[in-house]
Protein backbone atom coordinates (compact mmCIF):
# COMPACT_ATOMS: atom_id res chain seq x y z
CA UNK A 1 0.00 0.00 0.00
CA UNK A 2 0.92 3.66 -0.23
CA UNK A 3 0.85 5.77 2.93
CA UNK A 4 0.15 9.48 2.98
CA UNK A 5 2.25 11.87 5.02
CA UNK A 6 1.55 15.53 5.81
CA UNK A 7 4.81 17.43 5.54
CA UNK A 8 5.36 21.03 6.61
CA UNK A 9 8.56 22.42 5.15
CA UNK A 10 10.88 25.04 6.69
CA UNK A 11 8.87 27.81 5.05
CA UNK A 12 5.66 26.54 6.67
CA UNK A 13 4.22 25.14 3.42
CA UNK A 14 2.18 21.99 3.95
CA UNK A 15 1.94 19.21 1.39
CA UNK A 16 0.81 15.61 1.38
CA UNK A 17 3.27 13.11 -0.04
CA UNK A 18 2.80 9.40 -0.47
CA UNK A 19 5.18 6.49 -0.27
CA UNK A 20 5.09 2.71 -0.77
CA UNK A 21 5.34 0.39 2.23
CA UNK A 22 6.95 -2.44 0.27
CA UNK A 23 10.24 -0.88 -0.79
CA UNK A 24 12.15 -0.84 2.52
CA UNK A 25 12.19 2.96 2.46
CA UNK A 26 12.56 5.14 5.50
CA UNK A 27 11.04 8.58 5.94
CA UNK A 28 14.35 10.39 5.31
CA UNK A 29 14.62 8.66 1.94
CA UNK A 30 11.01 9.42 1.08
CA UNK A 31 11.56 13.11 1.91
CA UNK A 32 14.61 13.12 -0.35
CA UNK A 33 12.65 11.46 -3.16
CA UNK A 34 10.18 14.33 -2.86
CA UNK A 35 13.06 16.81 -3.04
CA UNK A 36 12.80 18.16 0.48
CA UNK A 37 16.08 19.77 1.66
CA UNK A 38 17.00 16.86 3.92
CA UNK A 39 20.67 15.94 3.59
CA UNK A 40 20.75 12.46 5.12
CA UNK A 41 24.49 12.93 5.53
CA UNK A 42 25.16 9.65 7.30
CA UNK A 43 22.91 7.72 4.94
CA UNK A 44 20.42 6.68 7.60
CA UNK A 45 22.57 5.42 10.47
CA UNK A 46 21.23 7.89 13.08
CA UNK A 47 24.67 9.46 13.18
CA UNK A 48 24.17 13.00 11.92
CA UNK A 49 20.72 14.48 12.71
CA UNK A 50 20.47 16.11 9.28
CA UNK A 51 17.00 14.52 8.87
CA UNK A 52 15.67 15.94 12.14
CA UNK A 53 11.87 16.36 12.12
CA UNK A 54 9.09 17.19 14.57
CA UNK A 55 6.11 14.84 14.87
CA UNK A 56 2.65 16.44 15.05
CA UNK A 57 0.41 13.36 15.15
CA UNK A 58 -0.09 10.38 17.42
CA UNK A 59 0.93 7.56 15.08
CA UNK A 60 2.67 4.61 16.69
CA UNK A 61 6.34 5.00 15.82
CA UNK A 62 9.30 2.70 16.47
CA UNK A 63 11.01 3.30 19.82
CA UNK A 64 13.89 5.73 19.87
CA UNK A 65 17.19 3.82 19.89
CA UNK A 66 20.06 4.94 22.07
CA UNK A 67 22.02 6.29 19.10
CA UNK A 68 19.01 8.26 17.83
CA UNK A 69 18.41 9.63 21.34
CA UNK A 70 22.06 10.65 21.59
CA UNK A 71 21.88 12.57 18.33
CA UNK A 72 18.69 14.29 19.41
CA UNK A 73 20.13 15.13 22.84
CA UNK A 74 23.06 16.80 21.18
CA UNK A 75 20.94 18.70 18.70
CA UNK A 76 20.28 22.33 19.36
CA UNK A 77 16.71 22.47 18.09
CA UNK A 78 15.47 19.22 19.63
CA UNK A 79 12.06 19.16 21.29
CA UNK A 80 10.08 16.41 22.98
CA UNK A 81 8.47 15.53 19.64
CA UNK A 82 11.78 15.33 17.76
CA UNK A 83 12.73 12.30 15.69
CA UNK A 84 15.24 11.42 13.00
CA UNK A 85 13.31 10.64 9.82
CA UNK A 86 15.83 7.96 8.86
CA UNK A 87 14.75 5.87 11.85
CA UNK A 88 11.11 5.73 10.77
CA UNK A 89 10.36 3.01 8.23
CA UNK A 90 7.57 3.64 5.72
CA UNK A 91 4.96 1.27 7.10
CA UNK A 92 1.19 1.19 7.53
CA UNK A 93 1.65 2.62 11.05
CA UNK A 94 2.69 5.98 9.72
CA UNK A 95 -0.25 6.54 7.38
CA UNK A 96 -1.46 10.14 7.83
CA UNK A 97 1.58 11.00 9.95
CA UNK A 98 2.06 14.76 10.34
CA UNK A 99 5.62 16.01 10.38
CA UNK A 100 7.49 19.27 10.21
CA UNK A 101 11.10 19.68 9.05
CA UNK A 102 13.32 20.98 11.88
CA UNK A 103 15.44 24.07 11.19
CA UNK A 104 18.59 23.47 9.20
CA UNK A 105 21.87 23.19 11.11
CA UNK A 106 23.52 26.59 11.42
Amino acid sequence: MDVKIHVTDRQGKEQIISGPTDMSLNLMELLKVHEYPVEGTCGGMALCASCHIFIHSTNLLPEISSSEQAMLDDNWDSKDNSRLACQIPISENIDLLKIELAPEDL
Partner: protein, 336 residues
Protein backbone atom coordinates in the same frame (compact mmCIF):
# COMPACT_ATOMS: atom_id res chain seq x y z
CA UNK B 1 54.60 27.43 -1.91
CA UNK B 2 53.78 23.75 -2.42
CA UNK B 3 53.76 22.68 -6.09
CA UNK B 4 52.07 19.57 -7.41
CA UNK B 5 50.19 18.23 -10.44
CA UNK B 6 46.74 17.81 -8.89
CA UNK B 7 45.42 19.55 -5.81
CA UNK B 8 42.76 17.29 -4.31
CA UNK B 9 40.30 19.03 -2.02
CA UNK B 10 38.97 16.45 0.40
CA UNK B 11 40.85 13.45 1.81
CA UNK B 12 37.87 11.11 1.96
CA UNK B 13 37.92 7.72 0.21
CA UNK B 14 37.44 9.22 -3.25
CA UNK B 15 40.13 11.88 -2.75
CA UNK B 16 42.53 9.21 -1.49
CA UNK B 17 41.85 6.85 -4.40
CA UNK B 18 42.43 9.74 -6.83
CA UNK B 19 46.06 9.73 -5.65
CA UNK B 20 46.35 6.12 -6.75
CA UNK B 21 44.81 6.62 -10.18
CA UNK B 22 46.87 9.79 -10.71
CA UNK B 23 50.00 7.99 -9.53
CA UNK B 24 49.59 5.35 -12.25
CA UNK B 25 49.88 8.24 -14.73
CA UNK B 26 52.89 9.67 -12.87
CA UNK B 27 50.88 12.63 -11.63
CA UNK B 28 51.67 13.89 -8.15
CA UNK B 29 48.92 14.92 -5.75
CA UNK B 30 48.50 17.09 -2.69
CA UNK B 31 45.41 16.70 -0.52
CA UNK B 32 43.73 19.38 1.59
CA UNK B 33 41.15 18.53 4.23
CA UNK B 34 39.47 20.55 6.96
CA UNK B 35 39.54 17.52 9.27
CA UNK B 36 42.74 16.72 11.14
CA UNK B 37 42.79 13.13 9.83
CA UNK B 38 42.26 11.54 6.40
CA UNK B 39 39.10 9.55 5.67
CA UNK B 40 36.35 12.18 5.45
CA UNK B 41 32.93 10.93 6.51
CA UNK B 42 34.31 7.38 6.89
CA UNK B 43 36.64 8.63 9.62
CA UNK B 44 34.49 11.35 11.14
CA UNK B 45 30.94 10.00 11.08
CA UNK B 46 30.96 6.23 10.86
CA UNK B 47 34.46 4.74 11.35
CA UNK B 48 33.16 1.58 13.04
CA UNK B 49 30.28 0.88 10.64
CA UNK B 50 30.66 -1.89 8.08
CA UNK B 51 30.33 -1.02 4.38
CA UNK B 52 28.99 -3.83 2.20
CA UNK B 53 29.25 -2.41 -1.33
CA UNK B 54 32.98 -2.02 -1.86
CA UNK B 55 33.77 -4.48 -4.67
CA UNK B 56 35.80 -7.42 -3.45
CA UNK B 57 34.99 -6.81 0.23
CA UNK B 58 31.83 -8.56 1.46
CA UNK B 59 32.13 -6.27 4.49
CA UNK B 60 34.72 -3.71 5.52
CA UNK B 61 34.73 -1.19 8.37
CA UNK B 62 34.85 2.40 7.16
CA UNK B 63 38.03 3.04 9.16
CA UNK B 64 39.58 -0.10 7.69
CA UNK B 65 38.78 1.10 4.16
CA UNK B 66 40.56 4.38 4.92
CA UNK B 67 43.60 2.52 6.30
CA UNK B 68 43.77 0.33 3.20
CA UNK B 69 43.43 3.31 0.85
CA UNK B 70 46.24 5.08 2.75
CA UNK B 71 48.38 1.96 2.29
CA UNK B 72 47.44 1.72 -1.39
CA UNK B 73 48.53 5.31 -2.14
CA UNK B 74 51.72 5.17 -0.07
CA UNK B 75 53.98 4.46 -3.10
CA UNK B 76 52.83 7.72 -4.68
CA UNK B 77 53.91 9.79 -1.70
CA UNK B 78 51.08 12.34 -1.65
CA UNK B 79 51.31 15.59 0.27
CA UNK B 80 48.75 16.36 2.96
CA UNK B 81 47.54 19.65 4.39
CA UNK B 82 45.13 18.53 7.10
CA UNK B 83 43.08 20.60 9.52
CA UNK B 84 42.93 23.45 7.01
CA UNK B 85 40.12 24.47 4.68
CA UNK B 86 40.72 25.41 1.03
CA UNK B 87 39.52 28.99 1.03
CA UNK B 88 40.48 30.93 -2.10
CA UNK B 89 41.45 29.97 -5.62
CA UNK B 90 43.19 32.11 -8.19
CA UNK B 91 44.42 31.37 -11.70
CA UNK B 92 48.03 32.42 -12.17
CA UNK B 93 49.39 34.04 -15.36
CA UNK B 94 51.09 30.71 -16.21
CA UNK B 95 47.69 29.00 -16.16
CA UNK B 96 48.20 27.20 -12.84
CA UNK B 97 45.77 27.46 -9.95
CA UNK B 98 46.87 28.71 -6.55
CA UNK B 99 44.77 27.63 -3.61
CA UNK B 100 45.14 29.27 -0.24
CA UNK B 101 43.89 27.64 2.94
CA UNK B 102 42.34 29.22 6.00
CA UNK B 103 45.73 28.94 7.72
CA UNK B 104 47.55 30.63 4.84
CA UNK B 105 49.13 27.56 3.19
CA UNK B 106 49.51 28.08 -0.59
CA UNK B 107 49.46 25.22 -3.08
CA UNK B 108 49.96 25.53 -6.84
CA UNK B 109 48.94 23.07 -9.57
CA UNK B 110 47.56 23.01 -13.11
CA UNK B 111 44.62 20.83 -12.04
CA UNK B 112 42.22 20.94 -9.09
CA UNK B 113 40.06 17.95 -8.20
CA UNK B 114 37.30 18.70 -5.72
CA UNK B 115 36.43 15.53 -3.83
CA UNK B 116 34.82 17.41 -0.98
CA UNK B 117 32.01 14.99 -0.18
CA UNK B 118 29.15 16.85 1.44
CA UNK B 119 31.42 19.74 2.27
CA UNK B 120 33.63 21.07 4.99
CA UNK B 121 32.98 19.67 8.45
CA UNK B 122 32.17 22.75 10.48
CA UNK B 123 30.96 23.05 14.07
CA UNK B 124 27.22 23.05 14.66
CA UNK B 125 26.24 26.41 16.06
CA UNK B 126 23.52 27.06 18.59
CA UNK B 127 20.51 28.85 17.18
CA UNK B 128 20.91 32.08 19.17
CA UNK B 129 20.44 35.38 17.36
CA UNK B 130 23.29 37.59 18.58
CA UNK B 131 25.87 34.84 18.98
CA UNK B 132 28.12 36.00 16.14
CA UNK B 133 29.22 39.12 18.01
CA UNK B 134 30.74 36.92 20.75
CA UNK B 135 32.44 34.39 18.45
CA UNK B 136 36.21 33.90 18.80
CA UNK B 137 36.29 36.28 21.75
CA UNK B 138 33.97 34.81 24.36
CA UNK B 139 32.39 31.94 22.45
CA UNK B 140 34.41 29.16 20.80
CA UNK B 141 33.09 26.14 18.87
CA UNK B 142 36.47 24.40 18.70
CA UNK B 143 39.18 24.34 21.35
CA UNK B 144 42.42 25.05 19.52
CA UNK B 145 44.44 26.66 22.31
CA UNK B 146 43.36 25.11 25.63
CA UNK B 147 45.68 27.47 27.54
CA UNK B 148 43.39 30.37 26.58
CA UNK B 149 40.93 29.02 29.13
CA UNK B 150 43.35 28.56 32.01
CA UNK B 151 41.96 29.88 35.31
CA UNK B 152 38.81 31.01 33.53
CA UNK B 153 35.20 30.45 34.42
CA UNK B 154 34.02 28.36 31.50
CA UNK B 155 30.74 26.84 30.51
CA UNK B 156 30.66 23.90 28.11
CA UNK B 157 27.47 22.80 26.35
CA UNK B 158 26.91 19.41 24.78
CA UNK B 159 26.63 15.77 25.72
CA UNK B 160 29.03 14.06 23.34
CA UNK B 161 32.68 13.06 23.52
CA UNK B 162 33.99 16.48 22.64
CA UNK B 163 32.02 18.27 25.39
CA UNK B 164 32.91 15.69 28.04
CA UNK B 165 36.56 15.35 27.03
CA UNK B 166 37.16 19.08 27.27
CA UNK B 167 35.24 19.40 30.53
CA UNK B 168 37.48 16.66 31.96
CA UNK B 169 40.60 18.23 30.49
CA UNK B 170 39.94 21.63 32.04
CA UNK B 171 38.93 20.15 35.39
CA UNK B 172 42.03 17.94 35.50
CA UNK B 173 44.68 20.24 34.07
CA UNK B 174 43.75 23.80 34.79
CA UNK B 175 41.47 23.61 37.82
CA UNK B 176 39.33 26.06 35.92
CA UNK B 177 35.77 26.69 37.06
CA UNK B 178 33.95 24.29 34.74
CA UNK B 179 30.21 24.03 34.25
CA UNK B 180 28.66 21.54 31.85
CA UNK B 181 25.20 22.22 30.48
CA UNK B 182 23.40 19.38 28.72
CA UNK B 183 19.83 19.19 27.47
CA UNK B 184 19.39 15.65 28.79
CA UNK B 185 20.64 13.64 31.75
CA UNK B 186 22.19 11.00 29.49
CA UNK B 187 25.55 11.34 27.80
CA UNK B 188 26.55 9.60 24.59
CA UNK B 189 30.28 9.87 25.26
CA UNK B 190 32.51 6.92 26.21
CA UNK B 191 31.38 5.26 29.43
CA UNK B 192 34.72 5.93 31.06
CA UNK B 193 34.52 9.67 30.34
CA UNK B 194 30.94 9.81 31.59
CA UNK B 195 31.89 8.05 34.83
CA UNK B 196 34.84 10.36 35.44
CA UNK B 197 32.70 13.43 34.75
CA UNK B 198 30.05 12.19 37.20
CA UNK B 199 32.75 11.56 39.81
CA UNK B 200 34.10 15.09 39.33
CA UNK B 201 30.59 16.41 39.61
CA UNK B 202 30.27 14.77 43.06
CA UNK B 203 33.64 16.23 44.06
CA UNK B 204 32.54 19.67 42.86
CA UNK B 205 35.21 19.88 40.16
CA UNK B 206 32.64 20.05 37.38
CA UNK B 207 29.22 21.55 37.97
CA UNK B 208 26.64 19.76 35.87
CA UNK B 209 23.50 21.56 34.80
CA UNK B 210 21.37 18.86 33.22
CA UNK B 211 18.04 18.89 31.36
CA UNK B 212 18.84 22.49 30.49
CA UNK B 213 19.90 24.54 27.54
CA UNK B 214 21.37 28.00 26.96
CA UNK B 215 18.64 30.14 25.42
CA UNK B 216 20.41 33.49 25.21
CA UNK B 217 23.65 35.34 25.74
CA UNK B 218 24.44 38.90 26.79
CA UNK B 219 27.49 40.99 27.61
CA UNK B 220 28.34 41.62 31.24
CA UNK B 221 31.34 43.97 31.53
CA UNK B 222 34.33 41.78 30.63
CA UNK B 223 32.33 38.62 30.98
CA UNK B 224 29.23 37.11 29.44
CA UNK B 225 25.92 36.09 30.92
CA UNK B 226 24.31 32.91 29.67
CA UNK B 227 20.55 32.63 29.97
CA UNK B 228 19.71 29.04 30.81
CA UNK B 229 16.34 27.42 30.43
CA UNK B 230 15.52 24.07 32.01
CA UNK B 231 13.10 21.48 30.63
CA UNK B 232 10.59 22.70 33.24
CA UNK B 233 11.02 26.20 31.80
CA UNK B 234 12.87 27.48 34.88
CA UNK B 235 15.15 30.33 33.91
CA UNK B 236 18.55 31.07 35.41
CA UNK B 237 21.62 33.13 34.56
CA UNK B 238 25.27 32.13 34.64
CA UNK B 239 28.13 34.62 34.46
CA UNK B 240 31.32 33.27 32.92
CA UNK B 241 34.39 34.18 30.90
CA UNK B 242 33.82 31.77 28.03
CA UNK B 243 31.17 29.55 26.55
CA UNK B 244 32.16 26.51 24.53
CA UNK B 245 29.13 25.05 22.73
CA UNK B 246 30.46 21.68 21.48
CA UNK B 247 27.66 20.14 19.44
CA UNK B 248 29.69 18.18 16.93
CA UNK B 249 30.41 18.83 13.30
CA UNK B 250 28.16 19.12 10.28
CA UNK B 251 29.22 19.35 6.64
CA UNK B 252 28.69 22.62 4.77
CA UNK B 253 29.65 23.37 1.18
CA UNK B 254 31.98 26.06 2.56
CA UNK B 255 34.23 28.46 0.64
CA UNK B 256 34.19 26.44 -2.63
CA UNK B 257 30.58 27.62 -2.97
CA UNK B 258 32.02 31.07 -3.82
CA UNK B 259 34.53 29.96 -6.46
CA UNK B 260 32.25 30.58 -9.43
CA UNK B 261 31.43 26.89 -9.89
CA UNK B 262 27.99 25.97 -11.11
CA UNK B 263 26.18 24.72 -8.01
CA UNK B 264 22.93 22.78 -8.03
CA UNK B 265 21.34 21.76 -4.73
CA UNK B 266 24.58 22.06 -2.75
CA UNK B 267 26.50 19.99 -5.30
CA UNK B 268 28.82 20.95 -8.16
CA UNK B 269 27.46 20.36 -11.65
CA UNK B 270 29.85 18.33 -13.81
CA UNK B 271 29.99 16.87 -17.31
CA UNK B 272 29.53 13.16 -16.70
CA UNK B 273 29.55 12.33 -20.42
CA UNK B 274 33.28 13.11 -20.57
CA UNK B 275 35.51 13.67 -17.58
CA UNK B 276 33.64 15.14 -14.55
CA UNK B 277 34.91 18.62 -15.43
CA UNK B 278 33.17 21.63 -13.92
CA UNK B 279 32.30 24.88 -15.68
CA UNK B 280 35.83 26.13 -14.86
CA UNK B 281 38.53 24.68 -17.13
CA UNK B 282 41.02 22.66 -15.06
CA UNK B 283 38.72 22.13 -12.08
CA UNK B 284 37.02 18.75 -11.72
CA UNK B 285 34.55 17.52 -9.10
CA UNK B 286 34.22 13.85 -8.14
CA UNK B 287 32.42 11.80 -5.51
CA UNK B 288 29.53 12.98 -3.37
CA UNK B 289 30.28 16.66 -4.07
CA UNK B 290 29.22 16.51 -7.72
CA UNK B 291 25.91 16.12 -9.47
CA UNK B 292 24.78 15.00 -12.91
CA UNK B 293 21.76 13.16 -14.30
CA UNK B 294 21.60 9.73 -12.65
CA UNK B 295 24.19 10.57 -9.98
CA UNK B 296 24.59 7.98 -7.22
CA UNK B 297 26.33 9.04 -4.03
CA UNK B 298 28.30 5.84 -3.56
CA UNK B 299 31.97 5.41 -2.75
CA UNK B 300 32.35 2.98 -5.64
CA UNK B 301 30.91 5.53 -8.11
CA UNK B 302 33.41 8.09 -6.77
CA UNK B 303 36.26 5.64 -7.43
CA UNK B 304 35.08 5.28 -11.04
CA UNK B 305 34.84 9.05 -11.44
CA UNK B 306 38.39 9.44 -10.10
CA UNK B 307 39.79 7.00 -12.67
CA UNK B 308 38.07 8.79 -15.57
CA UNK B 309 38.97 12.24 -14.26
CA UNK B 310 42.73 11.68 -13.99
CA UNK B 311 42.89 10.69 -17.68
CA UNK B 312 41.59 14.14 -18.55
CA UNK B 313 43.80 15.77 -15.91
CA UNK B 314 46.84 14.15 -17.57
CA UNK B 315 46.14 16.10 -20.76
CA UNK B 316 45.97 19.35 -18.78
CA UNK B 317 49.30 18.66 -17.07
CA UNK B 318 51.01 17.34 -20.22
CA UNK B 319 49.18 18.85 -23.22
CA UNK B 320 51.76 17.48 -25.67
CA UNK B 321 51.97 13.92 -24.36
CA UNK B 322 49.73 11.02 -25.16
CA UNK B 323 48.73 8.62 -22.45
CA UNK B 324 48.06 4.94 -22.99
CA UNK B 325 46.03 3.01 -20.43
CA UNK B 326 48.24 0.48 -18.71
CA UNK B 327 47.10 -2.35 -16.48
CA UNK B 328 48.62 -2.74 -13.01
CA UNK B 329 48.71 -6.49 -13.61
CA UNK B 330 51.18 -5.85 -16.43
CA UNK B 331 53.23 -2.94 -15.15
CA UNK B 332 52.89 -3.27 -11.38
CA UNK B 333 53.06 -0.16 -9.20
CA UNK B 334 55.98 2.15 -9.73
CA UNK B 335 55.95 4.78 -7.01
CA UNK B 336 57.81 8.02 -6.75
Amino acid sequence: MIKTDIIIIGAGPVGLFTVFEAGLLKLKCHLIDALPQPGGQCAEIYPKKPIYDIPGYPSILASELVDKLMKQIEPFNPGFTLGETAQTIKKNSDGDFIIKTTQGTSIKAPVVAIAGGLGVFTPRKPNISNLESFENDKVFYIVKEPSLFKDKEIVISGGGDSALDWALFFAENYASDVKLIHRSDNFRAHNDSVQRALDYSKQGKIKMILNSQVSGISKNENKITLHVQSKNNDLSKINCDNWLPLFGLTPKIGPIGDWGLEIQKNAIKVDNATDYSTNIDGIYAIGDVNTYPGKLKLILCGFHEAAIMVQSAFKKVYPNKNNVLKYTTVTGIKGF
